[in-house]
């Protein structure tokens, strides 16, 4: 099937996509008393913990809570989306073996479910912005570009990892460790400037650093991200999606023998 055909068949099943996303969200919070409130509470709790550690122990700036919560939400969107996307094909094996649906819909549903979660968690983010007296500037209009980039990037990574996970189930365990490392080599909880000059190129090599800066600059500093960073970040997102898409569709016919 051509790429256009693949995209079209994904579009034909948009109703299924919607239902899968709703299911993901509903099932996740079923039987919890606070339900959706956890989506709002979790990032706040992490923020408080990190703020206590970094502000009181390491003497960070007073607006550190905003710095860290914006990055945590961003990183969670990526890490939860991609690790659920990674597992989505194997987890849907029962369906894939019985009904003909475009398989790339399953990682997409995982990413979108987390995007919805993320959207809701913008509420506590806004609250923290107001609470810390952050400057609200027109630069905030660029925030969606950062979100779009990371979502595309997450989908691309999910497609590639989900493919690998079909053939080698240890990809999942490997990825858990990889995420932990990624968390520390991305300036999520620390400012990039604390990294010694000679290692800073390592941060720059990490696409997440660029995308995070594009997302965080308007929120935390109230400024537009550098145009180069904006462009790079979109390219990372698109590039990952294209590569992931190609890998996935190159191997998807063989999934059925392995799931």
């Amino acid at each position: 099937m051509t790429t256009a055909g693949q995209v079209r068949s994904l579009w034909r099943y948009r109703e299924l996509l919607r239902n899968l996303v709703v299911r993901d969200i509903k099932v996740r919070y079923k039987r919890s008393v606070l339900g959706f409130a956890w989506m709002l509470l979790n990032p706040l709790i992490s923020m408080i913990v990190f703020s206590i550690i970094f502000r009181e122990v390491f003497g960070m700036e007073q607006d550190y809570p905003l710095y860290v919560i914006s990055a945590l939400l961003f990183f969670n969107l990526f890490s939860l989306g991609s690790s659920q996307g990674l597992n989505s094909i194997v987890a849907s094996s029962g369906l894939i073996r019985k009904v003909a649906v475009p398989k790339s819909i399953f990682p997409l549903a995982s990413v979108l479910a987390n995007l919805v979660n993320f959207g809701l968690s913008l509420i506590p983010l806004a609250a923290v912005m107001i609470f810390t007296g952050a400057k609200l500037t027109p630069a905030l209009l660029v925030v969606p570009v950062g979100i779009l980039s990371i979502s595309l990037f997450t989908y691309g990574i999910s497609l590639a990892l989900a493919t690998a996970n079909v053939f080698y189930r240890d990809v999942r365990w490997f990825y858990d460790s990889a995420l932990l490392i990624l968390f520390y080599v991305t300036p999520v909880i620390y400012p990039a400037k604390v990294v010694p000059e000679q290692f800073r190129f390592l941060l720059a090599l990490n696409p997440l650093t660029t995308m995070l800066e594009v997302f965080r600059a308007p929120i935390y500093e109230g400024v537009l991200p550098a145009p180069a960073a904006l462009g790079a970040s979109l390219l990372y997102g698109l590039g990952a999606t294209i590569v992931g898409w190609m890998v996935f569709h190159r191997y998807e016919d063989r999934f059925i023998n392995f799931i």
Binding site: S9, Y13, K26, V99, F167, R169, I256
Partner: protein, 534 residues
Amino acid sequence: MAAPSIPSTSAAPGTPSAAAQEAAASGVAIRIDDLSVRLSLQKEVVLSLRETAIRWIQRRPVEVEEFWPVRNVSFDVQRGEAFGIVGRNGAGKSTVLKVIAGVLSPTLGTVDVRGRIAPLLELGAGFDSEMTGRENIYLYGSLLGFPRQKLDERFSHIVEFAELEHFIDVPLKNYSSGMASRLGFAVATDVDPDILIVDEALTVGDARFQLKCMERIELFRQRGVTILFVSHNPDQVRRLCSRALWLDNGVVRLLGGVDEVVDGYTAVEYELPRRRTAWTKPDLPSFVEESGSAGKQSAVSVAYRSPNENRQTPPVHGEYDFIDFTLVDARSMEFCREAFGGRGLSVSNNIAVAERVRAAGGDAVTADLSVIDFPDDSFSFVSLMDSIHLLPGLEAISHVLASSARWARDFIFVRMPSYEDEEYLRALGLKHYWHDWSWYPTHPRVDQISSILQSLGLEQYHVSHRSPALSSDAASILPLAAPPDQGVYDAEIHGPKLSIEFPRPIYGQIDVFIALRRFETAQWHDIITKGTQS
């Protein structure tokens, strides 16, 4: 991983190709041309990275077993035609259906499908147990590609057909398997498909719901929907379909008119097991075995795994006093336990029955009567309640009775509706309500059963005629003109019936007790009393 090179094919509906265009012009709904499917089964299915690395270093390739479940199969299904596929388990029927449904890609050959497919492969595969029936209708519907708006419109109709009005907002995990499959069937068949694929999935649910499903399928056929029907029951195929295909070991054995194909299939399939279970039990011993064999159990291990993955059942191991062959109902197990005592093993090709027996704490195995086998004298008795008249003919009944006689030491218990006076009632413009049931292909009479027993050398048996009707007012008697597949008399559905006093009782049920050894009179009498109390 060996990379299979897959030639360009068009399995997905809507993919244009020369063959497809030709098919559209000639009114062909499904065209299968020289289809072969290869599955690569790795000896170890999922490898770890570490093991792959070690194998690579040792230059030891992964062992891949190649397997062709379907080879060089060609056939066309015309628009509006009901087309049957018969064959034993593992003959490749499911593989062909999966290719048509687009789940598997053809390895060689082409498959062209014109129109929207409603696959009834494994009902309810798309259900999520945490979600309610309502949410699942939308999830499952969208999985089959139905638009939301259409599901909104049809929602109440779906719920009504599935008979789940009171449970629709209950999470699916609280449903019985029968309820879930009812919901699956209701959704999959509610929105008009162009092509309906009916796999053996339909053997789930209770008998009444199965009839309802068959009625709906029949309606589809009348409306001109193309139907691809796969069933174990040759009689169903004969009733529904006009043409059929017989798959044997992955290749086409016969393709043609339904009677020709089904005749050929049943002749071979039901002769085969008979040869295998040639009657070997020696003459009945001439001495009286006073102790009987009470308390003596045999250990039996059943690890029946059919090649059809849908039907695999967990292996069963245990010691049993009897086996209960049943096709429609799980209650027979309980009846035997109460009437005759002992521990039973339920054998049924109906997954729902097996699940119900297991849910009640019993052991059950899902298997086909013609395929399963046990060592001689494994059990005290074999119960065949409401099952032998569902077999596809006297040949098959004879085979099952012979096998049962081999497996049991003491007796065989048969219960079924009576067909004795079918002709007589017809002459009066009446019938018993089961006389027209399409799921009851064989109407064995006592004289036919007698001659089977005689041919097997089983000459000690007792027949009880039960449930007498003294006039046509009995609820089990319907006017002859009443539509087929109906239940007991209901004036609103069946219309008025003549009131006739019968000169002799017309019986509704027969029980047959077949002795496999000598019994003391009192002992034999005791068994019959226990079996006929209800």
